[in-house]
């Protein structure tokens, strides 16, 4: 699949929601744990060799599962292939929890649900649709019907 790699590289240089050096192991059988600089920017998780400016790779964080693993570790897998896991080792329980929370909220789909939630809550309290004042109340992407059950 073609993609705009230059723009993805530029995105990897943007200010991150979270960044830390973690142990990382790829999904392939026999993968070795490696130290990587892991950086969360919008709904992408970039991972760099610790001394390089360009990322080794990126994970788009849509339709993914973040699961707690033993010893301050977590894994990311994707809904269509739950056995294929990207494994991350943290230096403490706190760091592990922090990353899991951040990754859980890092998808576009999660943001969309948050928006629908806030929109409905505001509507319940005030009787008004808060998106109307911005002229985006009819946008398909912000409708309740647009959510997966």
């Amino acid at each position: 699949m073609r993609y705009n790699e230059k723009e993805l590289q530029a995105l990897s240089r943007q200010p991150a929601e979270m960044a830390a050096e973690l142990g990382m192991r790829g999904p392939k059988k026999g993968s070795v744990l490696k130290r990587r600089l892991v950086k969360l920017v919008v709904n992408f998780l970039f991972y760099f060799r610790t001394d390089e400016a360009e990322p080794v790779g990126a994970l788009l964080l849509e339709r993914c599962r973040v699961i707690r693993e033993e010893l301050s570790a977590f894994s990311i897998s994707f809904i269509e292939d739950p056995e294929r896991k990207y494994h991350f080792e943290c230096s403490s329980e706190e760091q592990c929890q922090e990353w899991m929370e951040a990754l859980r909220r890092a998808s576009y789909e999660f943001m969309r649900r948050s928006l629908v939630f806030y929109r409905n809550e505001i509507r319940k309290v005030t009787g008004k649709d808060p998106l109307e004042q911005f002229g985006i109340s009819e946008e398909a992407r912000f409708q309740l019907s647009g959510l997966q059950a």
């Binding site: 073609r2 993609y3 994970l59 859980r104 943001m111 002229g135």
Partner: protein, 247 residues
């Protein structure tokens, strides 16, 4: 750079409703021909397929940090997705009707994760404000100064800033005790009936650390940004429509 392309392909073709879909002509390169492709917009990803029945996308355009502009082109109903930076690619696309073009321009200019996050933050603040006041009226968007006069068409006018507005860092509130499973994309509050968070709202979206300002509009509240761009869009559309009238 490695990318989880298989997951990307599944995201492109999954059952969830899309944000926009339709045929567009895509210019191959600077002097290349247009190819008709089936485009699917989902979140901040613009996928394109050989045709509507294809199982796997030919490619994807990641829509962060871009502006969407009308362009002068041989093709009717053309518009461009432009990225910043030296040697950055500009994607020239053409719709098959005026309505389709306008629909795409609107959808694409609001497709970034950044934009969605801005809206969510704004709503989160509004909810806190109305809850704090016990059902008071919504804070009204402030009236704002007119934007500087626009250059005449066809000079491009950006619809959205490419850099995020800086926001102060805030500590995250505690999670509600009823923890949903940690699944992205199958999250909890898809219907009001099943959502039981307790009295607290869900944790707010993660805050960015403050970054250096990139332009005069970055310190404006969201309402101003929206009104400002809305005015630019209205003016530009007016110019474009009047330029299409036959003499």
């Amino acid at each position: 750079m490695k990318l989880n392309e298989r997951s990307l392909a599944f995201y492109a073709t999954c059952d969830a409703p899309v944000d926009n879909a339709g045929f567009l002509y895509k210019k191959g390169g600077r002097h290349a021909a247009y190819h008709r492709r089936w485009f699917v917009l989902r979140g901040n990803m613009l996928f394109y397929f050989e045709d509507a029945a294809s199982r796997e996308p030919v490619g994807v355009i990641i829509l962060e940090g871009c502006t969407v502009e009308l362009v002068e082109a041989a093709e009717e109903f053309a518009f461009a997705v432009r990225f910043a930076g030296t040697r950055a690619r500009t994607y020239v696309l053409a719709a098959e009707s005026q309505a389709a073009m306008e629909g795409w321009v609107k959808a694409l200019s609001r497709a970034s994760f950044d934009y969605l996050r801005l809206v969510v933050r704004e709503l989160e603040q509004q909810l806190a404000a109305v809850r704090g006041g016990g059902g008071m009226a919504l804070p009204q968007p402030q009236s704002l100064p007119l934007p500087p006069s626009l250059p005449s068409a066809p000079a491009p006018v950006p619809f959205l800033p490419s850099a995020p507005a800086p926001v102060p860092a805030l500590p995250l509130p505690r999670r509600p005790s009823a923890l949903p499973p940690k699944e992205n994309g199958c999250a909890v509050w898809s219907t009001e009936a099943t959502f039981r968070p307790g009295p607290e709202p869900p944790p707010p979206p993660p805050r960015r650390r403050a970054s250096a300002p990139h332009g005069p509009l970055d310190v404006a509240p969201f309402a101003r940004l929206h009104e400002c761009y809305g005015q630019e869009i209205r003016a530009l559309r007016g110019q474009w429509l009047s330029s299409r009238v036959q003499p």
